[in-house]
């Protein structure tokens, strides 16, 4: 009866992971009448779809990298960096909220600050610096800045415990042997943290890749050059131009890209963890 305990877990996996994934795969190969077809997959090669994938991958990679870097630096500052404990508590509390602050509220918060009539935009204009039209919140970089707002806190939340777990003995052993602080990080600290950093960056990539509401609220969902999740939304929506088969094929493409990301990440992690 030992397997009985695993039943809820398996049921969960089937209901929320395997079943939807299988349904996406199957329906990617069905047309509107339920007949087998390759047309949906072939349709993925349309230029606006290819460019949407590239756009989304770039957006996810950039925000994972920028969010990861700044998140790591902030996590370092509140752990090893020895900031006072109120700064630590404050930043962790803020991160807990901000990492979940996505979707329409986040989009409106940014529109209110960095939008064409936003607070910061107006303030900068008053100082003689005009953001627009060189910058637009509704462009790639606008979207990237908005995403980074939840990527950094997520990185902080995951890396802070990892940095806390770095043993003081390692640092002191290195110092005693004549290493500078930089040499300690270069040869000991970063290599030990690398698997955690890579893992979290992969998570950030997926986090950005799957985001929908924030992008939808900012771009209005109408733009041609947009993130994949918005294209999917358009295809499975109820209007007349929708094509659920294509929507499923788009989702299948996302699954493939996420699988490649996870594969790449596990490979890098294994490389960086030879010593474990």
């Amino acid at each position: 009866m030992a397997w009985l305990g695993v039943v809820p877990f398996l049921a969960f996996i089937v209901a929320f992971l395997l079943w939807p994934a299988a349904s996406i795969v199957v329906r990617s190969f069905l047309d509107q009448q339920g007949r087998l077809t390759l047309q949906n997959i072939a349709d993925l090669s349309q230029p606006f779809i290819v460019s949407s994938y590239i756009y989304t991958i770039e957006l996810s990679a950039v925000t994972a990298a920028v969010g990861g870097l700044f998140g790591l630096l902030l996590a370092y500052a509140i752990t090893v960096g020895g900031l006072p404990s109120w700064a630590r508590a404050g930043l962790l509390g803020f991160s807990g909220v901000a990492s979940n602050f996505a979707g329409i509220p986040l989009a409106f918060a940014f529109i209110a600050t960095l939008g064409q009539l936003g607070l910061v935009t107006q303030w900068l204009k008053g100082m003689g610096v005009s953001l627009y039209p060189a910058f637009s919140l509704y462009s790639f970089w606008g979207l990237a800045i908005t995403y980074v707002y939840f990527q950094i806190p997520l990185m902080v939340l995951i890396m802070a415990p990892a940095l806390d777990a770095m043993r003081r003995d390692w640092r002191e052993a290195a110092e005693g042997l004549g290493a500078t602080g930089w040499q300690y990080w270069r040869f000991v600290g970063l290599p030990i943290l690398l698997p955690a950093i890579l893992g979290t960056m992969a998570l950030l990539f997926g986090n950005a890749f799957g985001a929908h509401a924030t992008a939808f609220a900012l771009t209005g969902g109408g733009s041609q050059s947009s993130v994949v999740t918005i294209l999917i939304g358009a295809q499975i929506s109820s209007d007349a131009l929708a094509n659920p088969g294509l929507g499923n094929a788009l989702a299948l493409g996302m699954i493939v890209i996420m699988t490649i990301t996870i594969g790449l990440y596990s490979w890098l992690q294994r490389l960086s963890e030879r010593w474990k």
């Binding site: 052993a173 110092e175 005693g176 042997l177 500078t180 000991v188 030879r274 010593w275």
Partner: protein, 358 residues
């Protein structure tokens, strides 16, 4: 001028004093232990020598150079931690070569030195292993090799054997001492294990509550403790409550039985209470010490077989005395309830009035 000089060092953490009035001079090649109970300031003092803590007052000089404000990475020290603290992401060889690598030594030189160190710790075949693939004892030997590879001026060890099991502890202890002698490196060894301190050290610094109680060789500290604390912390001690009978003649009464201390009790008066301490191995049952020896009569209450020696507890009214006899397979040890007469020479008694303060 001594090789290592610790002058009037004091360390406070906020309101609490961790170390006070610390004075020590150690010669080149000397092996000094810091011995004391938990929290007495051993680690704090060692960390000040290493440079990880800054003394609140006082100076630390190594080879004539004032190091008080020198950061640890400029002090040329080798440090060994209780937790080994090997870098988990590096092989044994890279760990050992780390100090030379960050100093920018040429590769060939590092390789040669690493091989030499691996030979010194008898682990040449482990060069390519990672720390996670080694036993605790092996890890600590690698840590020792790493600390020594860059030829430090001082070797500092903080309870390096505490995390290991008894057998390995014993063999590694001897290995540490052998390597230390071979390299003639000045060493400070922190421990709360008195046997470890006794067997390894040229000199022992006995510490209690942030202060030095006594500095001396193992023989001196064990046989001539200067304070009540040292007497009771180092080795096992029978401490018997006693009452002065005749201070000038050095006679006291223990549970109604009179014994001699072999010397006058300075500043004592008849009827005053004090404690008399005697080591268990000095006491022998029945005739051994001759007719002049002190005698105490009692009955055997407990017998503990410890292997080479048998420890016997004898009840004398309100107090109890332990004594040791060597195990002898042809001689039955004392049995529970046996009446015995314990004998010990007057000169072996230590009088404890109170802990001495500096």
């Amino acid at each position: 001028m001594s090789f290592l000089e610790i002058n009037g060092v004091r360390k406070t953490f906020g309101q609490s004093v961790a170390v006070e009035h610390f004075e020590l001079r150690a010669e080149r090649g000397e092996f000094v232990s810091f011995l004391g109970p938990s929290g007495c300031g051993k680690t704090t003092t060692l960390r000040m020598v290493a440079g990880f803590e800054r003394p609140s007052a006082g100076h630390i000089r190594i080879d004539g150079v004032d190091m008080t404000d020198t950061p640890p990475n400029k002090r040329k020290i080798g440090m060994v931690f209780q937790s080994y603290a090997l870098f988990p992401n590096m092989t044994v060889a890279d760990n050992i070569g780390f100090g030379m690598r960050v100093a920018g030594r040429p590769r060939a030189e590092i390789r040669a030195r690493v091989d030499e160190m691996l030979g010194l710790i008898h682990m040449p075949e482990f060069a390519r292993r990672y720390p996670a693939q080694l036993s605790g004892g092996q890890q600590q030997r690698v840590a020792l090799a790493r600390a020594l590879a860059a030829q430090p001026q001082l070797l500092l060890l903080d309870e390096p054997l505490s995390a290991l099991d008894a057998k390995i502890r014993l063999s590694l202890r001897q290995e540490i001492r052998a390597i230390q002698r071979q390299l003639n490196i000045t060493t400070i060894y922190v421990t709360h294990d008195q046997e470890e301190a006794m067997s390894l050290s040229d000199r022992i610094v006995v510490m209690n509550r942030g202060r030095i109680e006594q500095i001396g060789g193992p023989f001196e500290v064990y046989n001539f403790p200067q304070t009540g604390f040292v007497a009771s912390f180092v080795g096992t001690l029978n401490v018997l409550p006693a009452e002065v009978v005749d201070a000038g003649a050095g006679r006291v009464r223990v549970d109604g039985q009179e014994i001699a201390l072999g010397k006058p009790i300075s500043g004592g008066a008849a009827g005053q209470r004090l404690s008399v301490a005697v080591r268990p191995e000095i006491i022998s049952p029945n005739g051994a010490h001759g007719p002049q020896a002190n005698q105490l009569r009692g009955s055997v209450e407990d017998v503990t077989f410890l292997g080479a020696i048998v420890r016997v507890r004898v009840r004398l009214g309100a107090s109890a005395v332990h004594f040791d006899v060597f195990n002898n397979p042809h001689l039955a040890p004392p049995a529970h309830g046996d009446l015995v007469t314990l004998r010990f020479p007057a000169e072996s008694c230590m009088v404890i009035t109170e802990a001495r303060n500096h």
